[in-house]
């Protein structure tokens, strides 16, 4: 097996694992934070605007980890620097 196919195989497998694992745990975390925010709103409907704003900011923070993984796998699939190095 030559270098090009090794790099292609490793990149594709790594990209799949990156997106898979990187979506799984942020999804768990987001579910947990949304559920606790919902129960907080159910207990205190007056505080709903504050809770919602904090929830959105927190969700953005959590989701950015998933986005990092996604961007990394996009780089591995579409703009792989090692692949380009070997090809040239």
């Amino acid at each position: 097996m030559d270098n090009v196919s090794i790099i292609a195989i490793v990149s594709i497998i790594a990209a799949g694992f990156t997106t898979g694992v990187g979506c799984m745990f942020p999804a768990l975390a987001e579910g947990k934070s949304v559920s606790s925010a919902l129960s907080a709103i159910a207990q205190q409907p007056d505080a709903a605007p504050t809770i919602t704003r904090t929830l959105f900011v927190g969700l953005a923070m959590i989701e950015s980890t998933a986005i990092y993984c996604f961007v990394l796998s996009m780089i591995l699939v579409f703009a792989n620097p090692f692949w380009n190095h070997i090809i040239q």
């Binding site: 704003r53 959105f56 986005i67």
Partner: protein, 238 residues
Amino acid sequence: MKLSPDETIFWQYGFVTINLTLVTTWAIMLLLVSLSVLATRKLKTGNQISRSQSMMEIIVTGINGQIREVGLKEPGQYIGFIGTLFLFIGTANLLIILPWYEPPTGSLSTTAALAISVLLAVPFFGIQKSGLLGYLKTYLQPTFIMLPFNLISEASRTVALTVRLFGNIMSGGLIVAVLLSIAPFVFPVVMTALGLLTGMVQAYIFAILATVYIAAAVHESKKKDKKSTTHSKEVSHG
């Protein structure tokens, strides 16, 4: 497959490049400026105001209210920056309903520019509020050991702002492109509708995070002043 509108190049001379991102950004700027000029041409204070003035007042009052809720008590001096961020990103993301439109926020250079302007605006407002020394002291806030961590957090949150906006918008466009090749009938429409929601939420989050960072820089320096004055009062009482 194209990952960003940077790769569509119209004109190039040396390192000066005019690509689709630049053209769309200038078009959005032109649209926003001309709309607001048209809407604010005949402002009135009576009971009967025009529809466009009412619309503008709703937008400005809403953004002011959001800034005030985060903790900046005088939103007038911050709305110029934060409101511009929100309106630009929101418009850029909402216009994906137009055919052949590629959002400029799906390019890493646009989002990096926006995040760097936030990075520069935080010390600007902090220094404006409490002077250069007062702002620099916030880097030594709990103790001087925290100085490298404060610097790292400044850099990492800029990178996070950049990649978050870019990744969200780019992934929306990419998913639509992939679905067009697999199931081109209904599903791309659904994903585009989801992209509208994501785009608006991302614009809100970018603006709110910029507000939170500015509020932290402004507040910490103010808190320090208050503590030192109360301390001196106690000393004088004692």
